[in-house]
Symmetry: C2
């Protein structure tokens, strides 16, 4: 759509740096909360989704179902999460985040959330649409390629 390779390159680099910074942020939080990597990844997902299932958590953490069970046991013992029956599937379980966790995690995430909102406030409606559109497209690429890898 245009000839400026530098601008395109900048976008790719910025997306990469963004990914790296997310990982480092999560590690910093995990360390503060006394979590290992998988626990930290799990709670990041729950911080986003509020409710999940052991199956989904297993996929997101890359753990087997057995390890997921014991990891959730640990988080439950720490009072960070709770299990409850899944009303739609009596085999299944729902995993929810506990106040106990939210309370101690909030002070650590409040800053970024505020900063992100302030950043977003700087853009016009048209610009926001471009940004969201790009992010959605980026995500779509990843989801599709993930499927391809899984089916290989």
């Amino acid at each position: 759509m245009n000839g400026n390779e530098d601008l395109k390159f900048n976008v790719l680099m910025a997306a990469r740096d963004n990914g790296i910074s997310s990982v480092l942020f999560r590690n910093a939080m995990g360390k503060k909360l006394g979590l290992n990597l998988t626990e930290s990844v799990c709670l990041t997902l729950l911080g986003i989704k509020s409710v999940s299932t052991p199956t989904e958590i297993a996929q997101y953490t890359g753990l087997t179902s057995g390890s997921t069970t014991t990891m959730l046991d640990r988080l439950e013992k720490k009072n960070f999460i709770r299990r409850k029956a899944n009303p739609n599937d009596r085999r299944g379980v729902l995993v929810e985040i506990n106040e106990e966790y939210s309370k101690i995690a909030f002070p650590l995430v409040a800053g970024v959330q505020k900063a992100h909102k302030e950043l977003i406030d700087k853009y016009s409606d048209t610009e926001l649409k471009v940004i969201a559109d790009f992010l959605v497209g980026f995500t779509k690429n990843m989801v599709e390629e993930t499927k391809k890898i899984d089916s290989k």
Copy 2:
């Protein structure tokens, strides 16, 4: 800068989904390559940076220095990485990715890279600037808040 809360919300959601999809993509790759989570995280970093150090890898994976050593030993034995002397610091070591890894990883990442480039091609220069600007701002927020958490 404007009053449309929906658009702002969409951007935040799109950014979140993007983060989730990255994690799932990395897990899918890691599984294909027979890597555990930390090894996968480590090679993702090396896939981006090409060269790193055990210290940086420890920070990025959340491992202690001791575990980092043994994890790098494993990756070295698999021929995925190599260590070499750091010319600027005789205590230190540089870690590089091996052709062995790039060769088998390439078929898995080629698809997303192509799709991402095609996505980027759709935007005008002005739009690309907005996108890069946003991503850089987002990253800056994370880096700053990570520092704050570390210093708490």
